[in-house]
Assembly symmetry: C2
Homo-oligomer: 112 residues x 2
């Protein structure tokens, strides 16, 4: 069932800003709420909330370093999320194909 995906993971990765955060963290290796907010059009607090969400679903992990909190992506977990993403896509793709085939069959039946 395409609806049976781990919905927390999906919704975590469903937000555009969170996707951009993951993007930045992936390319930059790591980052803090402040550093990320300088590269995105939202405030530090918004970023902090998102990092909280991502942390709760295990997509990122934080490590306190002095007065700052450095975040990095949990690549294994992100791989899981991406896999689910593609699996949903694949499911629908397959279903669309099946529907199309059935439609054609019906059409052929009508012609006779």
């Amino acid at each position: 069932m395409s609806a049976a995906v781990d919905d927390d993971l999906w919704s975590a990765v469903g937000d555009p800003t969170r996707r951009r955060i993951l993007d930045l963290l992936l390319t930059g290796g790591n980052g803090t709420a402040t550093s990320l907010s300088e590269q995105l059009p939202v405030t530090r607090q918004a970023i902090a909330k998102h990092l909280g969400v991502l942390d709760r679903v295990g997509l990122v992990h934080a490590s306190p370093a002095g007065r700052e909190r450095r975040y990095r992506v949990d690549e294994a977990q992100l791989a899981r999320a991406v896999a689910q993403l593609s699996s949903v896509g694949a499911t629908w793709d397959a279903r669309l194909r099946r529907i199309k085939r059935i439609a054609e069959t019906i059409q052929r039946g009508k012609d006779q």
Copy 2:
């Protein structure tokens, strides 16, 4: 840029309930707000709102039939959405792979 996807389509398909609605419409061929609400744990009005959203982004089309409004999926448009979905997945997949490769390279460098 993975963030440059047509955000209306993405967010339309991003909602779990809307995904289930599309699911039901796809397998059932068509449906009304009332018929769908009987198969989902939300009220008819919630469904109606979702159908409105899906209609606005062109993922479904309505055809009035007597006193009811029958909806069906626009498969071409859904195919577009699904394609975008997989494209985002693919992008991240590729990026994860690249990161992993770089990490391994660095690791090898350290060993020497």
